[in-house]
Amino acid sequence: MSAAIWAITAFLFSAGLAAVVLRRQLLAMLLGVELMIAGVNVALVHYAGRYADAEALAAVAVVIAVAAAEAVVGLSLILKVLRSGRGLDAGDLAELRG
């Protein structure tokens, strides 16, 4: 079981990381981050069940809530960028205002 869980976790995390690194669209990068978090949560839940560790489950619940807040803030930032007329491409955001 652990080998299967590790394979799932590794694949999901790698796919998410590849989406963050390779894709240029901000939304696709955010979706990649969510994929990485989901992959890590799978391994955490598996080992929490294996060792009957309720604190690990509490940690996963906190991670899910933080990931939801991160997604909300990320999406609102993306909408702000869209309203400013700079498009969805991460390459257009290479300069700071200063």
Binding site: L27, L31, V73, L75, I78
Partner: protein, 166 residues
């Protein structure tokens, strides 16, 4: 039985993660991520954490993915949004996905029926474990829980519309 269900859920999740990575359409990526999150919720359920599976479905599939789709819709007019027409699935892939979901359902129901016999493997589903989860969430993780509550409030403020300048 549980192992097979987890492996099928993992294979479906991996397939849709690959599809999300390879697809150029944002809509397809969002739908693929939704399937991946539902499959991970099923894995949570099979590994004895039904509450976390429920949270995953409610928060991600119910809330975050709706926000993602609304954001994609708000970005209308961009080349990414115009690729909505790419949202087609080959028939063999759709048939394979339906077969996998049906098999998952059968295996999950069979694993749920086998819980009393396989008590050591699925012991975390017991009431003591669930109560220990609640106790750790509001005792050892109480500060983190309060911080997350504050964070959710601040995240809610972030999406409030700004007052238009006159």
């Amino acid at each position: 039985m549980t192992l097979w269900a987890v492996m099928i859920a993992g294979a479906v999740a991996a397939s849709f993660a690959a599809a999300m990575l390879l697809s150029r359409s944002l809509y397809v990526g969002a739908v693929c991520l939704l399937v991946v999150l539902l499959q991970t919720a099923l894995i949570f359920l099979l590994r004895g954490a039904p509450l976390l599976g429920l949270l995953q479905v409610m928060i991600y599939a119910g809330a975050v993915m709706v926000l993602v789709v609304v954001t994609i819709m708000a970005s209308g007019g961009t080349p990414a949004a115009e690729r909505l027409a790419d949202f087609t699935v080959p028939r063999w892939a759709a048939a394979a996905a339906v077969a996998a979901v049906a098999l998952e359902l059968v295996l999950t129901l069979a694993a749920a029926r086998a819980v009393p016999e396989a008590a050591p493997a699925l012991a975390p589903a017991s009431g003591d474990y669930a109560s220990a989860f609640g106790v750790s969430l509001f005792r050892s993780y109480s500060l983190a829980t309060e911080a997350v509550t504050l964070l959710m409030f601040l995240a809610g403020l972030a999406v409030l519309p700004e007052k238009e300048a006159p």
